[in-house]
């Protein structure tokens, strides 16, 4: 209960009724406004739900300007920041990122972390996380390997170096070829070599002219022969006509020839038997001759075995 004080001795200049009550109400309003601001600012939220910690193993080549306080983004949204950069036992650098817990479900084991610069080649570095679709991350030991986005300036420099490395030998070769061409051109101009000789010396052209003239003469001389060739061709035509007639006659004779061939075939089929008979007859005749030779009445000496082997005198060195 509010107690109203009364001052009897002096009178206030301006007396406001219920002034203390109003002040108290104002203070209470201010306190309420402060609490509302704190709640709106999320301070309490941070206290109630602590951020998730994600360890990002940094590349061996360096951290690409990554520093404490740099942003961590996921799908273009800032989801946290780098809270510390440390060196682990394997001498690899790693960064600890505080991640807003509400984005934990988007960061999985197959998510990738890329260190980029805000303005491609300049500006502050930040970590760009990709949305994962694989196994859920164990946030007690959440860890991802970070890679540095290739610097376009480095790529351009490397490309220029490659171009220079390849172009310089080509230029040297071109220079050498040009020098050779110049030497060849000088030689040709000086009349050296076959081509130079052709350019400088007219003997070949004169010879070609003479050859053409000779060829012309030859053609003139062949012209009378052309007429004779025509006659020969006429005779050949007549001969071919006769040949055609002969072929016609032969065609008419074909049945007779076929019959003769059949007869010859039959006769040939009998030849082996005939030869065998002739062989047998000759053999019998030979035996008869041998027997007659051996008859004592004809001056023979009976049956004498003829030696099969040639005589030693036939071995002639």
């Amino acid at each position: 209960m509010l107690r109203i004080r009364h001052h009897d001795r002096e009178q206030p200049l301006l007396r406001v009724r219920y002034a203390d009550e109003l002040v108290g109400a104002f203070v209470l309003f201010c306190i309420g406004l402060f609490v509302a601001a704190v709640i709106e600012a999320g301070v309490l939220h941070d206290w109630i739900s602590p951020p998730a910690r994600l360890r990002l193993v940094l590349p061996e080549s360096g951290v690409a300007g990554l520093a404490v306080g740099n942003d961590v983004e996921l799908m273009g949204i800032r989801v946290g920041s780098i809270s510390a950069v440390h060196l682990n036992q394997e001498s690899r650098m790693y960064a600890v990122a505080n991640i807003d817990p509400q984005f934990k479900s988007f960061i999985r084991r197959d998510s990738t972390a890329t260190i980029r610069r805000r303005f491609v080649v300049a500006g502050a570095s930040y970590i760009d996380l990709s949305r994962g679709k694989g196994t859920v991350m164990d946030w007690q030991f959440a860890e991802l390997s970070a890679k540095i986005e290739a610097n376009p300036a480095d790529m351009i420099t490397s490309t220029l170096n490659d171009i220079r490395t390849n172009i310089v030998p080509v230029m040297h070769n071109a220079q050498a070829i040009t020098a050779d061409l110049k030497a060849v051109a000088d030689n040709v101009k000086a009349g050296k070599g076959t081509v130079g000789g052709l350019l400088v010396d007219d003997a070949l052209l004169r010879r070609a002219d003479a050859t053409v003239a000779t060829l012309q003469d030859t053609i003139e001389r062949l012209k009378p022969i052309e007429g004779q060739v025509g006659g020969v061709l006429t005779k050949a035509d007549g001969t071919m006509r006769n040949l055609r007639d002969t072929s016609g006659a032969l065609r008419k004779m074909t049945p007779t020839v076929n019959s003769a061939l059949h007869h010859a075939d039959d006769a040939t089929a009998q030849l082996p038997a005939l030869l065998t008979q002739a062989q047998a007859t000759a053999d019998s005749l030979k035996k008869l001759t041998d027997q007659l030779r051996g008859l004592w009445l004809l001056g023979g000496h009976g049956s004498v075995q003829k030696p099969q082997r040639l005589a030693p005198r036939d071995i002639r060195p």
């Binding site: 030979k286 009445l297 049956s303 099969q308 040639l310 030693p312 060195p317």
Partner: protein
């Protein structure tokens, strides 16, 4: 007349009794016999190429018969025909094949001296004079060898020894070969040729070319034209040694003209030893 008829009948019966009965076993292989006979005829008619074909057929027939004697005969004849044809390498191959086939059938090939003589002749023709001398001398010194083969081996040994410059062996070979006019003509010719070679090595050049000319005459009578040209070249060599260049040219031309008519001899004569001295 009746008496004449009786005598005729008695004569016919007597002649019938003289005829021999045909053997039925073992049967003669007519194909082999025919090949060998035709081969002999071809060889005698100076057609050694045809003889080679016939003896090859006979050798195949002998293989078909698995007949040791037939293989020996056909192999020997085939080697001699090839040698006569002017193919000493093929003759050597034939001798080797015949020996192998006979050894396969249990024959002691070391006793086949006739094949050794052919081998010696082929080696002489191929220019292997050391081997020819060794083979021929082994047969000539062997006992129990057929006289004809021994004489031929001695002649081959003498020829090879003369080419190798060993007159002592020539003289020893000459002792084996008879120069008697009653001896076979080929033996007389061999004797004259070796005597000529020995005379030439002893410096008796006139006797040498006389003996060589005599040997050439005898060879001509035997139709051994290869031996005749060899004797003519020997005579030219002797005439050259005697300083008779006119005779040398005469003998050389005669030998060359004769050789020109024998293409197979000409082809082989590249390897044969030249009887002409180097100029």
């Amino acid at each position: 007349m009746k008496r004449f008829m009786k005598c005729s009948v008695a004569t016919v019966l007597l002649m019938g009794g003289c005829s021999s009965a045909q053997k039925t076993f073992p049967r003669v292989d007519d194909a082999f016999e025919n090949d060998m006979d035709v081969g002999h005829s071809s060889f005698d008619l100076e057609h050694p190429g045809q003889a080679v074909s016939e003896y090859e057929a006979a050798y195949k027939r002998a293989l078909l018969r698995d007949d040791v004697s037939a293989l020996h005969d056909a192999g020997f004849n085939l080697a001699v025909a090839r040698l006569t044809l002017g193919r000493p390498d093929e003759a050597l191959e034939t001798v080797s094949r015949t020996r192998a086939d006979l050894a396969l059938r249990g024959v002691d090939v070391s006793s086949l001296v006739d094949l050794s003589v052919v081998e010696a002749a082929a080696q002489y023709r191929a220019g292997h004079y050391e081997d020819a001398l060794r083979q021929a001398a082994a047969v000539a010194d062997r006992s129990g060898v057929e006289p004809g083969l021994r004489e031929r081996a001695a002649f081959l040994a003498g020829l090879s020894a003369d080419t190798l410059g060993r007159p002592d062996v020539v003289a020893r070979s000459l002792g084996v070969i008879s120069g008697d006019p009653r001896a076979p003509v080929h033996e007389q010719a061999d004797h004259k040729e070796l005597a000529s070679r020995l005379d030439l090595s002893n410096g008796q050049t006139e006797a040498a070319w006389n003996e060589a000319a005599g040997a050439a005459d005898l060879r001509r009578g035997m139709l051994d034209y290869r031996g005749m040209t060899r004797a003519l070249r020997l005579a030219a060599r002797a005439a050259h040694a005697a300083g008779r260049t006119d005779l040398e040219a005469e003998f050389t031309t005669r030998a060359a003209q004769s050789e020109a008519q024998m293409p197979q001899v000409k082809a082989v004569s590249r390897d044969a030893p030249s009887d002409l001295p180097a100029r």
